[in-house]
């Protein structure tokens, strides 16, 4: 008897359990590979998962087996052309040679184990040491929205919330418990009486019977009245309590200075920072909107392509971007419904006197609306060696330093090299509790 079974529709990913065990096992090595690739590769590609190579020795499965060399060995090979018994063949310079061991066919190093991580796996490792749970608690504090949540039953309430099911269930229990005569029983009795009354011949026995039945009917009807079908004690209402609910939507504002002083290198660094923040938010919120605001001496909202790749010339007025951001928030993203994050990148240059205005705008309204505002100043690598004191810097930096003193959810950092972005990002978020505790 032969059976054909179509297994193609069976659930996929049967070996996922093994895979996650493997990743856990090789965690240290994979983590290192992930960190390396974040440092050296384009962060934009992070979304697509990542090919990583880890040292094969870390996941080697040892066993007792014979060595490749030594001792007396016989080999049988096919395809003899010219040899005769007793001939000598020189061994190839390396490896087992004619013994049948094959080198790596495509030049891939044999001591490396290559594989692709899925997006989720990669991000898990990527964010692993960001201590996410605390971060989530900390930044999910916008609990402005109250929504009714079911909270059991109550004996009072609006008629619209009447729970018919519960009410009727209580009523049935009560009626059974108090032995309320059923309607059908009463009807049957009435019918019986009527048929007796309609009978043409009546003797004393019949009239006795009739009287007894009438008395019983009266008793039943009275009992039905005493034990009502539905009593106020049966009634139940669905009860709701108002509970705060965190908003599941976030909007991220990317503010960037695109004046001539921001070269490709600066933009590139800024972009990495934005991408990182975006990735981070994407994991935490169902929906993340991105708003790109670029500015020179005037600001405008643009799409991503324009934001990163088109150039514009002009002066630098940072406050224009903040004003634009305020406008977009008031038009489209009411703070009650949205978690607002902002990331600003600039080289620190600003129109003289405007920095104070920026601080004013931030202190006045924007910081009240924002969950988090991160400012990164992109400086040259040479400058990085000089600017070691956080208190000194450009006018904008000093103004922002003042803002960060007042608001724990405002952070600022200097970046000089792309390998610093990830650590800086981490620092931005992990410094928040310290300042808020302080």
């Amino acid at each position: 008897m032969t059976q054909f079974i179509d297994r193609r529709l069976n659930p996929k990913g049967r070996s996922l359990g093994n895979r996650s065990r493997f990743i856990r096992r090789a965690r240290a090595a994979i983590k290192k590979a992930v960190d390396d690739s974040v440092r050296s590769r384009n962060i934009v590609d992070v979304d697509q998962g990542e090919h990583v190579a880890i040292p094969a020795s870390d996941i080697h499965e040892p066993s007792f087996h014979n060595a490749d060399q030594g001792g007396h060995r016989d080999h049988v090979l096919p395809g003899n052309k010219t040899y005769r018994a007793g001939d000598r063949i020189d061994k190839p310079p390396q490896g087992g040679g004619a013994g049948g061991r094959e080198g790596a066919p495509d030049g891939e190093a044999e001591d490396e184990f290559l594989f692709a991580l899925s997006r989720d796996e990669f991000l898990d490792l990527f964010f692993e040491d960001l201590a996410l749970p605390d971060l989530v608690k900390r930044s999910l504090k916008s609990t402005d929205i109250m929504r009714p949540r079911r909270a059991g039953l109550s004996v009072t309430g609006a008629p619209a919330n009447l729970s018919v099911m519960r009410t009727m269930r209580n009523a049935i229990g009560r009626r059974v418990g108090l032995r309320r005569p059923a309607n059908r029983e009463v009807e049957d009795l009435r019918g019986h009486i009527a048929s007796l009354e309609a009978a043409p011949h009546k003797d004393t026995h019949d009239s006795d019977e009739l009287a007894k039945l009438r008395a019983r009917l009266d008793h039943l009807v009275a009992r039905q009245k005493r034990v009502p079908f539905l009593d106020p004690v049966d009634v139940r209402y669905r009860h709701f309590e108002m509970k705060p609910e965190p908003t599941a939507n976030a909007v991220m504002f990317c503010l960037m200075d695109v004046s001539a002083s921001m070269g490709q290198r600066e933009k590139d660094l800024a972009k990495r920072f934005f991408v990182l923040l975006h990735l981070f938010l994407k994991r935490r919120y169902e929906k993340v909107d991105l708003v790109f605001i670029r500015h020179t001496h005037q600001a405008s909202e643009v799409d991503e392509q324009t934001f990163f790749y088109s150039t514009e010339s002009g002066g630098t007025v940072v406050s224009s971007a903040l004003v634009e951001m305020q406008r977009v928030i008031s038009e489209r993203y009411p703070a009650g419904d949205w978690n607002i994050y902002a990331a600003q990148a600039s080289d620190g240059e600003n129109y003289s006197g405007d920095s104070a205005h920026c601080a004013e705008l931030l202190n006045g309204e924007i910081m009240n609306l924002c969950q988090y505002f991160a400012y990164v100043e992109i400086i040259g690598e040479a400058e990085a060696k000089i600017l070691t004191n956080p208190a000194s810097g450009t006018e904008l930096w000093r103004a922002y330093l003042g803002v960060s003193g007042k608001w724990p959810n405002f952070a600022l950092k200097r970046i000089a090299h792309r390998s610093e972005i990830y650590p800086v990002f981490r620092e931005l978020f992990s410094t928040a509790p310290e300042t808020s505790d302080a």
Binding site: T2, I5, P62, H75, P78, N80
Partner: protein
């Protein structure tokens, strides 16, 4: 059932397979397998799977269900990587030695390929599994799927109770010793799920008995320890030397918990289950190839498979059997399919059309005409090593131009010890036979002594075959695993 009147009608004329055409073709295949070749088969269960499921099955050593362990995840990733890069194709099928015999066919196969696969796996391998004495005596086709199910459930339960990390460590160590934990000489008991549960129950009940020797230590202390006689007595009590390391550790390790012993048992049982397969690679594949070729060419002769489909089948047939020469860049060792198939067609030729040479070499079968029974005897009564010893003919050696090389120590050259000529046939045959004998290529490591009442050091002895040493780096790491299981020191000596 197809009969004479239906001969000549094509079984399928399209490239895509349907369940209908699979059924029809399989009926025709089985008809030839049973009536013409007289094969004795397990009931078949043919399952269509996707390529991802094929990779899944690959990575769990070809079994449909397996307990969870990171190494299977690693193998999956390796296979997947190679597959995606096109470094290797997927097998068209995987077949499992079970009753009913489960064959997995890849959904991407064309209908012609499905016919090939069904004849190959569901008839060829199936017959071999059911009739070869090694499988028959050493594995239990009826119980294996239940046993694996039990094993998977048991290990999952252990993970829940004792933590994944503890189970993983134990499995790592057990896997390291798997290759030296096979009964090569005495036959292991059959695996059944029920017996296994029963054993587990008894084992838990008698947990305290696992340290019974501590209780008898008082008496033993009086006896003179260390004398030759006492050592002999101790060894014979523990049935030393013991070739199956995990079996010995499972039985005598002082510190293991009952569940740990049970897991060791599962690992070595699964290793044992695969041991016959390692001893019959050449024969198993040869048998399957011979059977599929015979069946499909018979179907083609009777006009039931079209010429185009047959060409596709032959193309696949020959690429499976391709054996590049030793100096070809594609060479990666002897292809067991080639040698097995070549020997079996050669047996057929010897039976029907022998030469003088064949009559001298194979007086029993040359010209006997009854090649079907000769082959069936060979399939049932031999393993690779003995099969090659018995049946490798000079013609096959000449056709494949086999020659043998020997090397000694660290000499800078190989010596050609024999080639395919009158003087060398026997030597080449012997060399090929030993090359296909896993008990020669696996290191011989045995437990020789342990004194449970004193230092409890587990003494292992490695007896090198022809002076071949062990791979040193792995020895160190494997011994670490061994110590972890044994709980005390382990020493390895060369014997």
């Amino acid at each position: 059932m197809p009969d004479g009147s239906r001969d000549g009608t094509l079984l399928f004329d399209r490239n895509d397979w349907t369940f209908d055409s699979m059924h029809r073709t399989f009926d025709a295949i089985i008809d030839i397998a049973e009536k013409d070749l007289g094969l004795n088969l397990y009931p078949n269960q043919i399952e269509i799977i996707s390529s991802e499921q094929m990779l899944d099955t690959y990575s769990s050593v070809g079994m449909p269900l397996m307990y969870r362990h990171w190494s299977f995840g690693k193998h999956f990733i390796q296979h997947e990587h190679q597959y995606r890069k096109g470094m290797r194709g997927l097998a068209y099928e995987i077949v499992i030695n079970s009753n009913p015999c489960v064959s997995y066919c890849l959904e991407d196969n064309s209908m012609a390929l499905q016919a090939l696969v069904m004849a190959h796996a569901a008839c060829g391998h199936n017959h071999f599994f059911k009739n070869n004495h090694l499988f028959h005596q050493w594995t239990d086709a009826d119980g294996i799927l239940d046993y694996l199910d039990y094993a998977r459930g048991f290990i999952q339960k252990c993970e829940e109770q004792h933590g994944t990390a503890a189970v993983e460590k134990l499995l790592d160590a057990a896997h390291a010793l798997m290759s030296v934990s096979v009964f090569r000489h005495r036959r292991p008991p059959m695996l059944t799920e029920r017996a296994e549960r029963e054993r587990e129950r008894r084992r838990n009940e008698e947990a305290e008995h696992s340290v019974h020797y501590i209780w008898s230590a008082h008496e033993a202390a009086d006896r003179p320890g260390g004398t030759e006689q006492a050592v002999q007595e101790r060894k014979s009590r523990m049935r030393l030397p013991e070739e199956n390391l995990l079996y010995f550790i499972e039985s005598y390790a002082p510190k293991l918990q009952p569940w740990e012993r049970q897991i060791l048992r599962i690992v070595r049982n699964i290793g044992q289950y695969f041991y016959p397969q390692r001893q019959t690679k050449v024969m198993n594949e040869g048998c399957a190839c011979f059977v599929h070729y015979h069946i499909l060419s018979r179907l083609h002769q009777t006009g039931r498979i079209g010429d185009g489909a047959m060409l596709e089948i032959l193309h696949n047939h020959t690429s499976v059997l391709f054996q590049p020469g030793f100096d070809d860049p594609r060479y990666s060792g002897m292809n067991p399919y080639t040698i097995g198939y070549a020997m079996m067609t050669d047996i057929q030729r010897i039976c029907t059309d022998p030469t003088e040479e064949d009559r001298a070499w194979f007086p029993d079968i040359a010209g006997c005409k009854d090649w079907r029974n000769v082959l069936k005897d060979a399939w049932s009564g031999y393993r690779d090593e003995s099969f090659i010893q018995q049946f490798l003919s000079p013609k096959v050696m000449r056709d494949l131009r086999l020659f043998s090389l020997s090397e000694t120590g660290n000499e800078a050259f190989y010596r050609v010890s024999a080639i395919h000529d009158e003087a060398g046939y026997r030597e080449v045959r012997d060399a090929l036979a030993s090359a296909n004998n896993p008990s020669l290529s696996d290191p011989d490591i045995q437990v020789v002594d342990v004194d449970l009442l004193h230092d409890r050091v587990l003494h292992l002895q490695h007896r090198p075959t022809s002076g071949v040493p062990l791979a040193e780096d792995d020895v160190r790491r494997t011994l670490d695993h061994c110590r972890r299981l044994w709980g005390y020191d382990v020493s390895l000596t060369e014997g």
